[in-house]
């Protein structure tokens, strides 16, 4: 047991717990019994809160442990996180503004609400909602993986169910204050989380290279390690085969991120278009942080850090690389702060994700199919309960199923959420796609994406299925036809599936238009996509 670290960690954890409960009264509206309030914090967050909230939301604890772990084991390929988060904001800049405006004008809480309004199809909205929930669940579970990596490094590395107990306690606390305070809780905690993370990373990237002899030493050590391994795909540069994968993974991830319901929740909670625009320029500060953090994977190589063995599974867990590096290199009080940064970093996204999933469940399944006459108050009550169910579902994932399964599912989740791009993002601009085209495209992209992922073995050959998201082009098989036979180039599965999705959507759309199939009713108006906060006709927040 590492007592100093444990005490610092527990103290900071205590502080955010208090904040989580106090948050219910922070900038409170007239009621918490409305999804605009519980689920979107009153739709009034300004630039600063939004910056902390979205930053705390999309740069998760799992990112903090997994990206450096990937650099540690694979090298340059893990650095895709940087171009991904650089191209992200310019790509989503304009569509997010339209999504915010139309959602504000009509009171939409989820992306599926928008699809429902745009196409008048509860079936399409249901598909979008289910995709969102299924993609989000393993993501929450992964936050637990990040939190557990820290707890185990702290010495709470027990076996069996007892080994998971600290995690369970942390999550019960989180579940209770999220239930009570809604989105205000993670918004307030995000301040603490992000400040801690910034301090830790900046200290780490200044202090550790000085201690270890500078960046050239560190890159040298990494180069040596990769040259010594038999694996052909690693190295401090990309090779001929994985460059396309690097670029398509960055692009696919950038397109996918703001389709995730929890990212959209962060955006819809903001006060107006200007807040979003400012944040598109300010959020890349986190990209810089992520890039520096990724390099800590190489620092760990130079420092000779070894991954800790997870006593619950008996396998070495590369996700413990970063916590272990901090433990080795920092004085124990600062290591405690670093652990708290990662641990609290797990709580913020987990809370927002569970709120987003609960909103989807409530708005697009419960109200649509189970209780059509639900009042705003019923909706809030239902969403609060759903957020509990979602969180304990995620805990069950970790407790009873191999954590590897969550990692696989998260990989799948990225490919899945990308398949909602035509119905959510393209529909913001045009209603050209026919509703049946979108449904057909979704089925094609989803189905093919799953088949492709299923057939990819892991790099070390230990697992035959869902091993990675990189597809060898030579193995691409279109009903027996191999268009790139023999090619060893790799590409991100999500992009391939998205292309199939779009192709099917176009074909079905053309056919449906020929046959004059009814294309649903559009409740939105072109002007709705431009409304802003100071618009006198704007609907009031948290009424019906």
């Amino acid at each position: 047991m590492k007592w100093t670290e444990l005490v610092v960690f527990t103290l900071l954890f205590g502080v955010v717990t208090v904040l989580g409960f106090v948050a219910a009264r922070w900038r409170a509206g007239s009621t918490l019994e409305h999804l605009d309030e519980w689920g979107l914090g009153g739709r009034k967050f300004g630039s600063w809160i939004t910056w902390f909230l979205i930053g705390g939301d999309v740069y998760t604890a799992y990112t903090f442990v997994a990206v450096p772990a990937l650099m540690f084991s694979a090298g340059a390929a893990g650095f895709f996180a940087l171009p991904y988060t650089v191209i992200l904001y310019p790509i989503v800049f304009l569509p997010l503004l339209r999504l915010w405006s139309v959602s504000r004008a009509h009171g939409y809480v989820t992306p599926a609400d928008f699809v429902r309004g745009r196409y008048g199809s509860s079936t399409l909205a249901l598909l979008i909602a289910i995709t969102g929930i299924v993609a989000t669940m393993p993501y929450i579970a992964l936050q637990l993986v990040g939190l557990e990596a820290v707890l185990r490094t702290l010495g709470l590395n027990g076996t069996g169910i007892v080994g998971h107990l600290p995690l369970l306690i942390a999550f019960v606390i989180l579940a209770v204050y999220t239930y009570q305070s809604g989105l205000r809780a993670p918004a307030l905690i995000a301040f603490v989380k992000d400040i801690l993370v910034y301090v830790v990373i900046i200290v780490a990237v200044v202090y550790l290279p000085i201690k270890l002899g500078g960046w050239s030493e560190i890159f040298g050590a990494a180069d040596e390690k990769f040259k010594a391994t038999p694996a052909p795909g690693d190295g401090i540069l990309l090779n001929g085969n994985n460059q396309l994968q690097y670029a398509t993974l960055a692009l696919g991830s950038a397109l996918a991120l703001f389709l995730y319901p929890h990212s959209i929740t962060g955006v819809l909670a903001s006060r107006g278009r200007t807040v979003i625009k400012r944040n598109m320029s300010a959020l890349p500060a986190y990209s810089l942080l992520l890039g520096l953090l990724a390099l800590l994977g190489y620092v760990a190589i130079a420092a000779g850090t070894k991954p800790l063995t997870n006593n619950a599974t008996g396998d070495p867990d590369t996700n413990t690389i970063i916590p272990n590096l901090f433990e080795q290199q920092f004085p124990s009080w600062f290591a405690g702060i670093a652990f708290a940064a990662i641990g609290i970093g797990a709580l913020v996204p987990a809370a927002i994700m569970s709120i987003a999933a609960a909103n989807l469940w409530t708005r697009n399944i419960y109200k649509e199919y189970i209780r059509r006459d639900a009042t705003a108050q019923d909706e809030a009550k239902q969403a609060k309960l759903a957020s509990l169910v979602v969180k304990f579902g995620a805990v069950a994932f970790i407790l009873f199923i191999d954590p590897q399964f969550s990692i696989d599912l998260q990989l799948i989740g990225g490919v899945m959420i990308l398949q909602t791009l035509p119905a959510v993002a393209i529909a913001l601009y045009t209603r050209w796609f026919h509703v049946w085209g979108l449904i057909g495209g979704w089925i094609a992209g989803m189905g093919w994406g799953m088949v492709l992922l299923y057939n990819i073995p892991s790099a070390d050959g230990k697992r035959a299925h869902f091993g990675a998201s990189a597809l060898r082009l030579g193995e691409l098989n279109l009903f027996g036809w191999h268009p790139f036979a023999g090619s060893t180039l790799q590409i991100y599965v999500g992009i391939v599936a998205l292309l199939a999705n779009l192709l099917v959507a176009v074909v079905v759309t053309v056919a449906a238009r020929r046959m004059r199939v009814f294309n649903g009713l559009d409740k939105t108006d072109p002007a709705d996509y431009h409304v802003d906060e100071d618009d006198p006709k704007l609907r009031p927040v948290a009424t019906h």
């Binding site: 340059a76 650095f79 940087l82 171009p83 650089v86 191209i87 904001y89 310019p90 790509i91 800049f93 304009l94 500078g214 960046w215 050239s216 030493e217 560190i218 890159f219 401090i236 540069l237 990309l238 460059q243 690097y246 670029a247 960055a250 692009l251 107006g272 278009r273 200007t274 625009k277 400012r278 598109m280 320029s281 890349p284 990209s287 810089l288 890039g291 390099l295 601009y429 108006d525 072109p526 002007a527 709705d528 996509y529 431009h530 409304v531 802003d532 100071d534 618009d535 006198p536 006709k537």
Partner: protein, 94 residues
């Protein structure tokens, strides 16, 4: 619904928006997939992509500033008396 008889543009376009495409150069890996020249001991591959962050910030900031104060397309009708407030772009009143 849109007021009848008044054309409402669903898309507002500004040429400044094209700047948002610039950061996509980060996807062309052959440009930067090499070690030299190094900066502070960091191979080109790494510091070049850090430099990309600045380019991304510049692109979004310029587009924000340049499209902030005027509607990105002229309002559909010139006589402002019966101009619907929804037709004005954000920040127009500022």
């Amino acid at each position: 619904m849109a007021p009848p008889g008044k054309p409402v543009s669903g898309i507002r376009w500004s040429p400044w928006n094209l700047l948002l495409l610039v950061p996509l150069f980060m996807l062309i890996t052959p440009i930067f997939n090499r070690t030299g020249p190094a900066l502070l001991g960091m191979p080109f591959f790494y510091w070049f992509q850090f430099f990309g962050v600045a380019v991304g910030v510049a692109a979004t900031t310029i587009v924000f500033v340049k499209t902030r104060d005027q509607p990105t397309t002229p309002p559909p009708r010139a006589d402002s008396a019966d101009l619907d407030v929804d037709d004005l772009d954000e920040g127009a009143g500022r």
